[in-house]
Symmetry: C2
Subunit: 187 residues, 2 copies
Amino acid sequence: MSLPHAILTALLEKPSSGLELTRRFDRSIGYFWSATHQQIYRELGKLEKAGHIRALPTDSPARGQKKEYEVLAPGREELERWVGQREEPRALRDPLMLRLRATGVVGVGEGLVEELRRHRALHAARLAEYREFQRRDAARGHGTERDRVQGLVLQGGIDLELFWVNWLDKAIDGLAGPEHTPASQVG
Amino acid sequence: MSLPHAILTALLEKPSSGLELTRRFDRSIGYFWSATHQQIYRELGKLEKAGHIRALPTDSPARGQKKEYEVLAPGREELERWVGQREEPRALRDPLMLRLRATGVVGVGEGLVEELRRHRALHAARLAEYREFQRRDAARGHGTERDRVQGLVLQGGIDLELFWVNWLDKAIDGLAGPEHTPASQVG
DNA sequence: ACCCTCATGTAAGTAGTTACATGATTAC
DNA sequence: GTAATCATGTAACTACTTACATGAGGGT
């Protein structure tokens, strides 16, 4: 049950409308908790009904008009409760590793090696993007606790993409050329 | 839509009953594609109806009796098709990183740091387990392509757990003691 | 008038989780 | 006989995805 808490966090960082949240879920927050606009609008409705957030008063009509939300005290309390609570690490579900394992029984088609290369490129691109964020953040300085925490999260994203790039290199090397030369590690 | 393909892979590796599959999803396969017995039985029903697998003939009655399944040619073809197909990397959803980010707005409670340490221990335990698998596999030797592929998957698991352990060390260090000494890296 | 973008939503379907039901076999 | 374990399943619910609907405002 993390989506409502992701939204509460986003709204505490900055009160927003549904569409603005959607855009933010396509960038920063979405890098470790993705959500579509349909999920977001539905969840905003639930959170409002539960008294965790409210729509900022406006004189414009309902449909087709921007509606901004802010977090209320009970919403903040719920978020605090959730942050400190005990929760098991989520079980992994990765289709790419599954597909690799399947080649053990159906054989390695050229299709999969191509897929591994394509994924490698996607992860490398995201890694570069994150590093650009990091460079920009470092320039702005990082005094507050909020900056430090977001820095740790960003570092997590970077380390995770590094894992993917390096492991995919090993996998491509292991599949494409069993007469292998060891892949150089990206650091 | 990966669960049916995970099951097809498992059944090709070794024909099994629902409960046997469930156990295997608690070990090897489940390390990168988890599933409960309810999901597995439901999916076995669908796969049988689709003509992708069949129950091995038996004289025992239905309920409470073991029912073994094997993969049929159409099932194998479907798996081959799926392995080579293009599929985007799945969007990440990690509650722990989300909780860390939330501390940026609600502040760092002692609860979260404890959680990070707990998760760190869980990942370290799994890492040790994987390395034990690797040691055992190395002893048995790895001649076939199937062994090599499973070795790559296992290496993926190890690298991923290494990412978690090392990043969690950074995060714990960054939160608990901003007067930090740098964490030593596990390699 | 037409199209594009901004903006909010509804509906239907798939996937995954949690709780419960029930029969068969073995150990004591 | 009764408890534990093996084994298969149903039902209800929550979460997520995909496709579509609709209205407002601006540009040409």
